[in-house]
């Protein structure tokens, strides 16, 4: 920047260091507590230096929270959501941005509105749809009288049923449905110069050829940013998995296990194990963000000129 006075630079560093402290302290405390023994962690005031019990605690948390299979579940869900969302979002954003058809704006709003009403707000009814995701179609068939017709003709009763409870599909699909990705892609696609589309038209490319040959390669950075966002947010999902998995042993995710790691009602207050567990749970998304942050930031700063 412009002013280069050493004093001002000093203030800047001071403020930034303070900010870093604020951001890092919770991580540090988690690490420190996770590395201490039960005695150390129960001391008041707690020592701010890590101790030597990290691995025992990690191991204890690992078994108590049954983190192995839960981590795998979390990965499956996070990757499933990420891949699904990127696919869906890029396709629908492509349609919305590059095609001219009457219902374009209606479709955009239909999808976009979902952005405003996160899952948490419609928990209860969403649950029942998860029990039978085909219910809407059944109802449509029923009200149109098709069910009755088919039954009268063939004697077969149409009963659509697709239970998503306790399944990866159930964990993944509803998270894929939301509009964040579509919105981000739309924002990016709008920065693509008209001329590029036109050039490809002049070159004789079909819309899908334009999509695969030009648009997708160009949105690589955005894809990475979106992937980061999606991975992190689906990894961190709490309420939805909590709701949709009654069979936690098989379909639980790590974040759900946090509560199980908190010292139990009549157990010892072994916060060291809890924190070690938290450490394990935090790590994958943290690594993803730390690793992707360059693209992540760049992908969001789509400088449209």
């Amino acid at each position: 920047m412009i002013e280069r006075s050493p004093f001002f630079d000093f203030i800047t560093y001071l403020a930034m260091a303070f900010g870093a402290l604020v951001v890092v302290i919770p991580f540090w405390i988690t690490l420190v507590a996770g590395s201490q023994s039960l005695q150390e962690v129960s001391q008041v005031p707690i020592s701010l230096l890590p101790s030597s019990h990290l691995f025992e605690n990690l191991a204890a948390a690992w078994t108590r929270g049954d983190l192995g299979p839960k981590l795998i579940n979390s990965f499956i869900v996070a990757i499933g959501v990420t891949v699904g969302k990127i696919t869906l979002a890029s396709l629908s954003a492509f349609a919305i941005v590059f095609f001219s058809f009457k219902a374009r704006m209606i479709c955009f709003w239909l999808i976009f509105i979902t952005l405003m009403l996160p899952l948490e707000v419609r928990i209860v009814p969403t649950y029942s749809i998860a029990a039978n995701a085909l219910l809407p179609f059944q109802v449509i068939l029923d009200t149109l009288g098709i069910t009755g017709l088919v039954q009268a003709v063939s004697g077969v009763q149409i009963a659509l049923n697709w239970n998503l409870l306790n399944s990866y599909t159930g964990l993944i699909l509803p998270l894929v449905a939301t509009a964040t990705g579509t919105f981000l892609y739309r924002q990016f696609f709008m920065t693509i110069p008209d001329e590029l589309v036109e050039a490809s038209k002049m070159d004789g490319a079909h819309p899908l050829e334009f999509f695969f040959d030009v648009l997708l390669p160009l949105s690589r950075t955005n894809m990475l940013a979106l992937a980061t966002i999606m991975f992190v947010s689906s990894w961190n999902q709490y309420l939805w998995p909590l709701l949709i998995t009654t069979d936690r042993a098989n379909f639980g995710t790590v974040v759900m296990q946090l509560k199980a790691l908190i010292p139990a009602q009549n157990g010892t207050p072994d916060w060291n194990v809890t924190m070690a567990g938290a450490l394990i749970i935090m790590l994958p998304p943290l690594l993803v963000v730390a690793f992707m942050q360059r693209w992540f930031v760049r992908g969001l700063i789509s400088r449209d000129k």
Binding site: P193, L196, E198, A199, K201
Partner: protein, 358 residues
């Protein structure tokens, strides 16, 4: 190589009319330049030819086929865009070859054709670079190569040089000219740079506000502008234009009572007729005070152009610019005398701006 016929073409965006009915005939192999101020509809017209914009009314035929309903890829046109519109993620080779790939031309043939085109515009050393690693001029050449490789019937250029600096522009101009000479493909070139237009065109189309003002050879347009608009638009420094009327003695009265002796306009000097008198700066010369018909003026400032200079002066309330080769210093406020070259006078109707022949 194909003839292009534009018949009664109009274009509306929603309610606003942008092209008000254009009729143009472009011969096969001709190099046509469309020139006009920003927003006059040049690009729109070009894009209608290309098929990138729907034609609201009228008809465009390429090589005898009406193309109104055809997709861009079916029209056999290639286009060079203002900002090149190269695919940023593809190498030069892939950029040039993309149209062929889409057309499912076999790889071997594709490579050969790309190579041939690349050679013809000296791009071989850069075939494996991305557009981002090229200079402006090189990018421009890639854009041209991309258009050439399809061996189209028509080339369309939309201000292809406007992002280049002056030196490069001159160079690219001669490259385009060479290209046209070599391939002889019908070309339509849009620009708002008149030097570009003058130097490139076989046929010049001057557009203004969605209408064609004049069609003709560049020299024809320069020497016989069909309207006040064209007169003002073509030529740099711009033509001096004086609004005024003829008095009883046939003098041209303008500004704060300035009078000019314009006897050469004999025949059109009806007293009271309101006209615009035009004369190019090179038709205005410094002269002695005693020259017949000399116009007294006061120097405002002088612009040094290197080889020559422009004298900006005030003649009885009208601004007048004269081209001068003398190198003596002329301070602001110096009185001078100017005379108008006989042959260089243009006359336009004040009402509708059309040329008045004399």
């Amino acid at each position: 190589m194909a003839q292009i016929t534009i018949k009664g073409v109009k274009k509306n965006y929603a309610k606003t009319a942008v092209i008000h009915g254009v009729d143009v005939n472009i011969e096969a192999g001709e190099f046509v330049v469309i020139l006009g101020p920003s927003g006059c509809g040049k690009s729109t017209l070009l894009r209608m030819i290309a098929g990138l914009e729907e034609i609201t009314e009228g008809e465009i035929a390429i090589g005898g086929t009406v193309v109104n309903k055809l997709e861009p890829r079916e029209r056999g046109c290639a286009m060079v865009f203002q900002n090149y519109a190269l695919y940023p993620h593809m190498t030069v080779r892939k950029n040039i070859g993309y149209a062929l790939k889409v057309a499912k031309v076999p790889k071997a043939e594709r490579d050969a054709r790309v190579m041939k085109v690349a050679q013809s515009v000296s791009l071989e050393p850069f075939l494996d670079r991305r557009p981002g690693e090229l200079s402006g001029g090189q990018r421009q050449r890639v854009a041209m190569a991309r258009a050439m490789v399809r061996e189209p019937k028509v080339f369309l250029f939309d201000e292809p040089f406007s992002n280049l600096d002056a030196k490069l522009r001159v160079a690219m101009r001669s490259e385009v000219r060479r290209l046209h000479r070599d391939l002889g493909v019908t070309s339509v070139f849009v620009t708002h740079d008149q030097i570009e237009a003058m130097t490139l065109a076989d046929k010049l189309i001057i557009m203004n506000a969605g209408k064609v003002e004049q069609i003709g050879k560049p020299t024809e347009v320069y020497n016989n502008p069909a309207s006040r608009f064209v007169a003002d638009f073509i030529g740099s420094p711009a033509m001096n234009l004086f609004e005024g009327e003829f008095d009883a003695e046939g003098h041209f009265v303008h500004g704060a009572g300035g009078r000019m002796n314009v006897s050469q306009l004999n025949g059109v000097r009806q007293p009271g007729r309101k006209v615009v008198l035009g004369v190019r700066p090179e038709g205005v010369r410094r002269t002695g005070a005693d020259t017949h018909g000399a116009i007294p003026a006061v120097v405002d400032y002088v612009e040094e152009l290197g080889a020559s200079r422009l004298i900006h002066a005030d003649a009885n309330g009208s601004r007048i610019v004269a081209l001068d080769n003398d190198s003596a210093e002329l301070k602001s406020g110096t009185p001078v005398h100017l005379s108008l070259a006989d042959s260089a006078l243009h006359l336009f109707s004040l009402e509708d701006g059309r040329r008045i022949s004399h």
